[in-house]
């Protein structure tokens, strides 16, 4: 039902090998840091893609769930817990908060849903800023240890203090995320998400519990976003309210829209390329956001499917053209 053509498989294999050897070609540690955070953003953007791109629900609290993950990991590791326990807990906490928010937010649709989730996002930001005893207020929490080493027989423990180790950790989580999303999206279960995006009333009339389905999509998305945030906190060694601010959501949104909504590679391409492009545009300083703001408008008007969606549309047009040709033949 959902098989991929051979050339796609070859390309994916090539990209995987390239990703494995990437650390050999990174010029300096500064650039390496950017590559690592870009991959983290790719994880979070991919999960935003599930709720926004595939399910059609514009959750503007997504950055807040990223931040929740970062804070939970920071608070727990500071209190002496192992990173490997704190990380899944951060995902569960975000899923729990998301469930609570969803109870309210999924009663609304469209713009209203976007506004309600945005409000919840800002509330979470304000909590991070004002609940000083727990979150450290404006200063945040700093001096975090890097991820707890994993003991490994014969080879000694795997440590996560070096950049290559962090890179492979993030790459592994990204691949796992893409694996999960791929399984979901290319299944009948995932088709119900797209059904809701396409026509919620019809989905309801065809026996799909739209509320529960949206909630599941939201839960998966929030869990993954928090995991990305949790890793972000250990790699930076600190967390501050900026990790939970609305700008994080807007950044993910820019990555997703420019890369290509509702396509798995689009989110990754956007999240990976744009921070690197931004780095090359360093000389433009504040003009960069001016540029990306305008670009967002241009893309959503003229290329609503983004960079990868554009490629896909061309491909689909070719398929549709072939289909209409063959059907004419069969009619004749």
């Amino acid at each position: 039902m959902f098989t991929k053509p051979i050339h796609t498989k070859l390309l994916l294999g090539f990209l995987f090998i390239a990703a494995l050897f990437l650390p050999l070609y990174v010029p300096d540690s500064y650039m390496f840091q950017i590559v690592i955070t870009s991959l983290l953003f790719a994880i979070a953007t991919s999960s935003m893609n599930l709720i926004l791109g595939y399910t059609g629900q514009a959750s503007l609290a997504h950055g807040a769930f990223f931040g929740v993950g970062a804070y939970v990991v920071a608070i727990m590791t500071k209190a002496g817990w192992s990173f490997w326990i704190a990380l899944p807990v951060s995902g569960l906490v975000a899923t729990g908060i998301g469930f609570f928010i969803g109870l309210f937010a999924f009663r609304t649709r469209g713009h209203f849903f976007a506004i309600v989730t945005l409000c919840f996002g800002v509330i979470l930001f304000q909590v991070a800023e004002n609940w000083i005893e727990v979150t450290g207020g404006q200063n945040g929490i700093f001096g975090l240890d890097s991820a707890t080493p994993i003991p490994f027989p014969f080879f000694g423990p795997i440590e996560f203090s070096s950049q290559p180790a962090q890179y492979y950790l993030v790459l592994a989580v990204l691949l796992l995320t893409l694996f999960v999303l791929h399984r979901v999206v290319y299944s009948i279960f995932g088709l119900t998400f797209m059904a809701i995006r396409n026509n919620e009333e019809l989905a309801d009339a065809l026996g799909i519990n739209t509320f529960a389905t949206k909630m599941v999509s939201f839960a998966i998305a929030n869990f993954i976003a928090a995991i990305a945030g949790g890793i972000y906190a250990t790699i930076l060694g600190a967390v501050s309210p900026s990790a939970i601010s609305i700008m994080i959501t807007f950044n993910f949104l820019i990555f997703l829209i420019l890369g290509g909504m509702a396509t798995l590679p689009g989110a990754v391409i956007g999240a990976f390329m744009i921070p690197i492009i931004m780095e090359f545009l360093q000389f433009m300083e504040n003009y960069r956001m001016l540029f990306f703001g305008a670009l967002l408008v241009v893309v959503i008007i003229w290329f609503p499917m983004g960079f990868f969606g554009g490629l896909k549309t061309i491909n689909q047009k070719i398929i549709a053209w072939r289909q209409s040709n063959t059907s004419e033949d069969s009619n004749a």
Binding site: L52, G56, I115, C119, F250, V297, P304
Partner: protein, 287 residues
């Protein structure tokens, strides 16, 4: 009692600002059925334009206010034309994303021109007035009075002039208005002009009291949105009442419960109302 009166007055002052900004937004949302999420950022830009005329060019306060109004009105028209009009008929989520693009653009623009630090317009009316045991600057009184006058003028415009009644007709029933042969594009431009111009007035009133910063549009825009949703899209009385109501909730909640979480009260009220009535307090019933 004095604290209460002071908070009450502050609440009315903020409420006046909210009412004006929400009024502009409700017309735009009612007419175009698109969420102009950048409305708060237009307000911010209006404040900076007034600042520019007063500080850089040495114009008087009232001249600057008037110029800011006209200039921002045209900014609004341009925004409607290039950002929102191409998206009519597209999924609503696209217009929302475009609005976010526009607000990022406007905020960065202010950042590039004026920098991140706060700016203050010299207070044109710093006299202190004592009334009912509370003291206030004349400028604060001007905010309250000026807003009331502006609201009455807008109300008269919408009710008594042909242009105004057309706008309200489209705001309340776009499809019906199109059937009667109203040029919806022209009405859209006009509405954007009015809504942006009034936002500029609100910003010019308030910025001698509070500092201007590129980030100030975001929170105000969200609050205006909340008011519009609660008051009903396209409803003028809903926006006015909602504006004053929110101002009062915040001032009293901030004064008596917690100043840090002042903004949370507004968001909390919205979430509560929407979860009980998903189409807003006075929203049109679907189906």
């Amino acid at each position: 009692m004095e604290l209460f009166l002071q908070q009450l007055f502050n609440g009315i002052m903020f409420g006046s600002t909210y009412a004006i900004v929400a009024l502009g937004l409700t017309l735009v949302m009612g007419i175009l059925h698109i969420p102009n999420f950048a409305h708060g950022h237009l307000y911010m830009l209006g404040g900076y334009i007034t600042y520019f005329f007063i500080t850089n060019l040495g114009f008087g306060y009232w001249y600057s206010l008037l110029l800011s109004m006209v200039i921002l009105g045209f900014v609004g028209v341009v925004m409607e034309r290039i950002v929102f009009r191409p998206l009519t008929g597209q999924p609503p989520i696209n217009a929302f994303i475009a609005a976010i693009g526009a607000l990022i653009f406007l905020e960065s623009l202010a950042l590039v021109i004026w920098g991140p630090q706060g700016m203050r317009i010299p207070n044109p009316h710093p006299q202190i007035i004592k009334m009912f045991g509370i003291t206030m600057e004349a400028q604060r009184l001007l905010v309250v009075g000026g807003a009331a006058v502006l609201i009455v003028l807008l109300h008269l415009f919408l009710k008594k002039t042909t242009t105004g009644t057309t706008i309200e007709a489209v705001a309340q029933n776009r499809e019906g208005a199109m059937l009667t042969g109203i040029n919806v594009n022209r009405v859209s431009s006009m509405t954007f002009f009015i809504s942006s111009a009034t936002a500029a007035v609100a910003a010019s009133f308030l910025s001698p009291i509070f500092i201007l910063s590129p980030a100030m549009g975001a929170v105000l825009g969200m609050k205006a949105f909340i008011i519009v949703i609660l008051g009903g899209m396209g409803s003028v009385p809903g926006a006015i009442l909602g504006g004053y109501f929110l101002g009062l909730i915040e001032a009293l909640g901030g004064g008596y419960i917690s100043a840090e979480y002042k903004d949370v009260f507004a968001f909390g009220a919205l979430i509560l109302v929407l979860s009980i009535k998903p189409t807003g307090l006075f929203g049109k019933q679907e189906g």
